[in-house]
């Protein structure tokens, strides 16, 4: 295809024109006539009984239209919010499923839990009225600290989950793993915390809803990554509005990182209340609300052990993790630390035996769910940290130990001991390339030079694997998922030859409008400016599963390819008729149908026109119109892999870390738009480095107040924290999807925390520092150095 705009071309993003000129249309931009505005009164306490709520004064405040509390929902028989993935514990019992009322009824369970909804003529009036609502709280002790949440005597978050335990889950055979450990020449042990993160999408969550009294139809605009799934949940489980009477629109959405997958209380309330209020309702979260109520990410406490033989070959891996669920089970929370985490613990290695035990715990904190990478960053951090630690302990080069244990390229498809079957990959050339680009050989000299400037220089590896492109429906169904994981596409040509392509995926920053158009351009030869990618509206797009888990291209793009095949097949029939040839002789290339071996040809646009104005048409076996749809259910996950190398310098006087070089070599399968892929990798690395060095959600361990509740205290990574990244690719195409693509959206965030922390440990090892937890803030690093110096002095 034309190299300028087809597959493989660095096409500038179509959508950026409107984003960069301020003409994007986000939920908050919607001009809704007669709109009212909602404000949510939220719990100031981590745990309290609500003894009374008095709204009488507030209801009389100027501009107030309506006030709703949890009791109104009970009276209206509104269902609770759901967790859509049933994880069975090690005894085969489904996880504990505590009630999750849309608004608190008699108990609040985290700072930010929803207590009342105030609807008024203006946002400020709603907020004024909220201050006049009198809530009497009987404040109780709260369970905040994850490490002790499962201890005897910890305050229980829900009566349905005794001891705060949601499940005690395992994978692998513990006895076999123990036997392998008994024979090991070396065992490396590691305790680590995977720090809790707050997603911080640029656009806060927002919702608006309108009820049409005449038809009984609801429209909900929401900052959703998956509008069809949101509609399904609201219809089938929460509000009971039939699916065909509820339209969900996710217009331009400013970032999600997972946090906008889930069905939240706020949007549920806005939708429900629209019919009661009788006017449209708008709501946009304030940034402080986003900090408190967006689902947080990560938050694990883990103990891991790796058994090695005398040469460094991995014999077995044992992992015990406590995963924080927060105060309620969010939509996919249960799956993240199990099927998206423990199944990844083989990494890139041939470790023959793996056992993982995961306990999910409730705490009086915001719900925790999928966040960029979802489980896979946590798994990668465990593996890549313990591998580097083992290398240091056994005095084997960190790259060499990895290489020695890589799954050989000849072993694919490779069945891991933790359920997944890797479809393809070739890891050694990736690490070789990364080491070359990072000039690994020259590192020692750079370390010495840095020392002369008083800096401690370190280098760290992270060789990651991830399973994404979610997912084969049968597989996820057998593991407890409540939905299928296929994707849909519809290619609708217009009589004038341009085309609308409807996808069930949703773009909230990923650039689908460009990448998917490149696919259409490449496969059908339609010029880029004749292609419109339509997404995010249940009324105009076929049912789709949305965007998360690096699935849009691998699954959604594959559906588009299938639909293009249908267009071509139908077009051939029409073209054959027009050219008076037999269908078998018609070929399609560069947007033109040709009769093989002749100079007869007819362009696709003409075929499309004939299909809509079928005066001369093969009516006997061909329907008019050029409008095809396709659903694609993947045969397997896709398995992007790569190696990152981070090089950094620490100022031991202040504990400050500066990243001086960062290399990432990835296998993403075939690449449609390298510029967009680079953007995804850059953003991912930055988010992962943010986790490693800066970000951390901190709750007061006694009161459960969110201390890191604003940008004054929650450190976001910024451009000046980074050098230019060095990126590269070593491609093995995915063998089971038609594009040969893997996913690239999460890889950067999955791999980078371990690369950074391994570099930190490498830098600090010479001065005796054994372990630094994330985030390795200046304070944290300085304290670790102080601790090592104190120990050395003793």
């Amino acid at each position: 295809m034309t190299a300028a705009t087809g597959i493989g071309a660095r096409v500038l993003r179509t959508e950026d024109k409107r984003f960069l000129t301020g003409t994007g249309r986000y939920v908050d931009d919607l001009p809704l006539a007669r709109a009212t505005y909602a404000y949510f009164l939220r719990s100031p306490h981590a745990h309290a009984k609500i003894t009374s709520i008095d709204i009488s004064a507030a209801a009389k405040m100027p501009g107030v239209v309506n006030i709703f509390t949890g009791k109104d929902l009970v009276d209206a028989k509104v269902g609770g919010l759901i967790c859509g993935w049933v994880v069975k514990d090690k005894h085969g019992q489904p996880h504990k499923a505590p009630a999750h009322p849309v608004m608190a009824v008699d108990t609040v369970r985290y700072v930010g839990d929803t207590v009342a909804m105030i609807v008024a003529n203006s946002y400020d009036e709603a907020k004024d009225a909220a201050e006049a609502i009198k809530v009497d709280y009987d404040v109780k002790s709260a369970t905040i600290d994850l490490a002790t949440a499962l201890d005897k005597g910890a305050t229980e978050v829900h009566p349905e989950a005794p001891g705060n335990l949601i499940y005690d889950w395992e994978i692998g055979v513990k006895a076999d793993v123990d036997a392998a450990f008994a024979k090991a020449a070396h065992v490396t042990k590691l305790d680590l915390v995977n720090n809790r993160l707050i997603p911080n999408a640029m656009e806060p969550r927002a919702a608006a809803a309108e009820y049409d009294k005449g038809t009984g139809n609801y429209t909900l605009w929401s900052t959703s990554q998956n509008p069809h799934v949101l509609r399904l949940i609201l219809s089938a489980f929460v509000l009971g509005i039939p699916e065909h009477k509820l339209r969900v629109v996710a217009p331009d959405v400013g970032g999600g990182f997972g946090s906008k997958i889930f069905c939240y209380a706020d949007e549920t309330m806005v939708c429900w209340a629209a019919s009661r209020v009788g006017r449209p309702i708008k709501w946009t979260a304030e940034r402080s609300e986003s900090f408190q109520t967006d689902c947080h990410g990560r938050d694990h406490v883990t103990h891991a052990e790796l058994a090695l033989d005398k040469d460094g070959k991995f014999l077995a891996l044992k992992v015990e993790t406590i995963a924080n669920m927060g105060a309620y089970l969010s939509t996919f929370s249960t799956a993240v630390p199990t099927y998206l985490y423990a199944t990844l613990l083989a990494g890139q290695y041939t470790t023959p035996l793996i056992y993982a035990n995961v306990k999910a715990a409730l705490t009086h904190t915001a719900p925790v769910d999928a966040y960029r990478g979802a489980g896979r960053p946590e798994a990668t951090f465990v593996i890549e940290s313990i591998v580097s630690k083992a290398a240091a302990e056994m005095k084997i080069d960190a790259a060499e130990l990895r290489r020695m244990n890589f799954i050989p390229s000849t072993a694919f498809p490779y069945q891991t001991p933790v359920a997944l079957q890797y479809d393809s990959g070739n890891y050694p050339p990736i690490i070789d390339e990364a080491m070359k680009i990072a000039d690994y050989k020259g590192f020692e000299a750079r370390r010495v030079e840095a020392k002369s400037r008083g800096k401690l220089r370190g280098i760290g590896f992270s060789s990651y694997i991830e399973a994404c492109g979610l997912a084969p429906s049968q597989v996820v169904g057998s593991l407890g998922a409540g939905v299928g994981q296929w994707e849909s596409a519809q290619i609708k040509f217009n009589p004038t030859g341009n085309v609308q392509v409807m996808t069930g995926a949703h773009s909230h920053g990923q650039g689908h409008e460009t990448t998917f158009a490149q696919l259409i351009h490449d496969k059908l030869g339609v010029p880029m400016d004749q292609i419109e990618i339509v997404h995010g509206d249940t009324a105009t797009t076929p049912f789709g599963m949305g965007t998360y888990g690096s699935r849009s291209l691998a699954v959604g793009g594959s559906a588009i390819v299938k639909a293009t095949e249908k267009i071509i097949a139908k077009g051939k029939k029409v073209a054959a008729h027009l050219m008076e040839a037999s269908v078998a002789d018609v070929e399609f290339e560069n947007g033109t149908f040709k009769v093989a071996g002749t100079d007869k040809s007819v362009p696709l646009a003409q075929v499309v026109f004939a299909a809509y104005v079928p005066h001369n048409y093969p009516h006997a076996d061909t329907e008019p119109g050029m409008d095809e749809n396709a659903f694609y259910d993947p045969a397997n996950f896709v398995y992007p892999a790569g190696t990152q190398i981070c090089e950094l310098e620490i100022d031991p006087e202040t504990g400050t870390t500066e990243i001086v070089a960062f290399t990432a070599i990835d296998d993403f399968g075939n690449i449609i738009n390298p510029m967009i892929v680079e953007g995804q990798v850059h953003g991912g690395i930055v988010q992962g480095v943010g986790q490693a060095l800066m970000e951390g959600a901190v709750y007061d361990k006694g009161t459960g107040q969110l201390i890191s509740g604003s940008y004054m205290d929650y450190t976001m990574p910024r451009a000046d924290n980074f050098p230019s990244f060095k990126l590269g690719y070593k491609t093995t195409p995915c063998p089971h999807n038609p594009l040969g693509v893997k996913g690239c959206g999460e890889a950067g965030a999955i791999a980078s925390p371990a690369a950074v922390m391994n570099a930190i440990h490498n830098a600090l090892a010479p001065i005796g520092v054994k372990h630094v937890e994330m985030p390795a803030t200046p304070l944290n690093v300085w304290q670790s150095i102080q601790g090592a110096q104190r120990q050395a002095a003793e």
Binding site: D124, K127, D128, E131, S288, E653, T654, G655, M694, V698, I707, S708, Y711, M712, D713, Y714, T715, M716, T777, P778, L779, W782, Q783
Partner: protein, 265 residues
Amino acid sequence: MYDFAYHRPKSVADAIGLLKSKPEARAMSGGMTLIPTLKQRLARPSDVVDLGGVKELAGIKVEGNNVVVGGMTRHADVATSADVKAAIPALAYLAGHIGDPQVRNRGTIGGSVANNDPAADYPGAVVALNATVSTNTRKIAADDFFKGLFETALGEGELITGISFPKAEKAAYVKFPNPASRYAMVGVFVAKTAAGVRVAVTGAGATVFRVKAMEEALAKNFSSAAIKDIKIPADGLNSDIHGSAEYRAHLVGVMARRAVDAANK
């Protein structure tokens, strides 16, 4: 935010008049602190008196041995002023490292100093350079101005009209930024002026403070070696998730040494 009446006077006299006639009125210069405070409903002024229209308050002048910065002067203007760069480069450097470009183009020296945030940068310069704060009624010496956490010597309805900084023979400011907010977690301004050597620390305590032991040592020998053994007690220093009191005490030493080295360059 709550409702309030908005005024934009053209002179200091009119501004004072408004502030005096409305007991719940608040002055606003760049609004960089005041607006977020209003949006979070942490303040409820009846009236906001915007000083943005008061021309006489903005601008930088060199008067003899002093650089006089008007109360409404934006950080960006101080950072890029040729006069400031020539007379006290450390002051221009300080202003250029406050917040981000948006903040520097709105925030003002008067607002910053009047607010006296414990993590603000300017108080370090005001004290180390032994500056004089002018108001509509009087002149206040730096040492008498900063009283405590968000507390100053300013009275009700008293406005900072300008701050006069004596030129320094040597001066430097070194800031260890809070990783999240990038305000000063510890900032040390070291200056050698006609009044002697001063070491002022911001960010570490409830308000800016001087380190007399360092000043004495540096008066004898203006080199970082002279202060390398001076330990700052952690007692009473700020402590939060970004820095314990011990860490801040340690950083005061490190930043002070780096500031002296920078001043000697």
